[in-house]
């Protein structure tokens, strides 16, 4: 027996197109976390991310007739989210996140935190702080790197899926993600060194 959960995204879309509108719920359930987080990391505004994500799903629903099953649904839905988010960013002038204020907190060295494998409560706190600093550093990245890093490391898309989502050559995507990571590392190292000298 075929249950809705066992259907692939593409099969769900087919059935929605034939009139089973309520199955759209499956797609929302599968993608809402990833899309909300993607949008939130891109614009850094939680409530707006929620609203924008709802608009994205509505746009996805309205555009289902144009969906070409030759392409993966994951890629297609991320592409709609990406376009909507970039449009929103272009329309608004977003406030920049103050990295200095967050990075100057008195906290353990990054090297120590990264090398921790079995974490005790104190180390868990340190790891949380490190992740927080990484997220701030991601937010400070130029948009072309930031989007790709989020798609790769938060939404866990493959390089190929990312290339299709943002409509860039695969090589460019790999290169930008590599450079984005290097920029993150350099920001984190710079922050550590500043604290070391301070």
């Amino acid at each position: 027996m075929v249950t809705p959960d066992s259907l692939t995204d593409e099969e769900v879309v087919d059935r929605i197109k034939t009139g089973e509108i309520n199955l759209f719920e499956i797609l929302v359930h599968r993608y809402q976390d990833r899309l909300v987080n993607y949008i939130y990391r891109m614009i850094n505004q939680r409530d707006t991310a929620m609203e924008l994500c709802q608009d994205v799903f509505l746009k996805v629903f309205k555009s289902l007739k144009q969906y070409d099953p030759e392409y993966k649904f994951t890629t297609w839905v991320h592409r709609i989210a990406s376009n909507a988010t970039i449009d929103w960013i272009r329309k608004k002038k977003l406030p920049t996140y103050s990295m200095e204020s967050a990075l100057n907190e008195d906290s353990p060295t990054l090297e120590h935190q990264l090398k921790s494998s079995d974490l005790n409560p104190h180390q868990t706190l340190e790891m949380r702080q490190l992740k927080s600093r990484i997220m701030i550093a991601i937010d400070e990245l130029p948009l072309i790197y930031k989007e790709l890093i989020i798609l790769r490391h938060m939404n866990h898309l493959s390089y190929d899926e990312i290339a299709r989502t943002v409509d860039l050559p695969l090589g460019t995507v790999k290169n930008r993600i590599f450079r984005g990571r290097e920029m993150l590392k350099s920001v984190l190292v710079g922050e550590r060194e500043r604290r070391g000298h301070g």
Binding site: I21, D33, L58, R128, V189
Partner: protein, 153 residues
Amino acid sequence: MVEKQKKPFEDNQFLETLDDLPMITVPTTMLPNIMDKVMDEHIRDQVKSFTIPAYMVILGLVYVLISMLSPTDLPWMDFLGMLFSSPESGLLNVFHHIFNICWQLISNQLLRTLIIDGIPYFLGATLAAGLVFLGLRVWVKSLHRNEKGSVEQ
């Protein structure tokens, strides 16, 4: 040694940390909100697809009703014939005919009913038209409720 200083972070650990960044939680109200919007959109699409023909049929019925109550020099069959046999089939043409029907109804039929046949006929025709529109409204709303009910199940 110099190389080590340049790469203080282990790549694997850095990547693991990147892959394991915290996610914000999505409120449980998100899914029903989206589905409500999707259903509204679906219903709107459905309504759009039959709104114009429905209004044409209703106006036609109203016209027939009034014609039966007060025979005029423009028989309803001729009028419907004119409506559906137009060589132009564009949307504007349809709206033109709808407007034409409304104008005929208001300026000609109802006034004639009011002046010649008297107030009871006029009130009867207006009431009949109102009931038809009310019926359509209730029907559309019940469709919306049915769609929502099927999702909740």
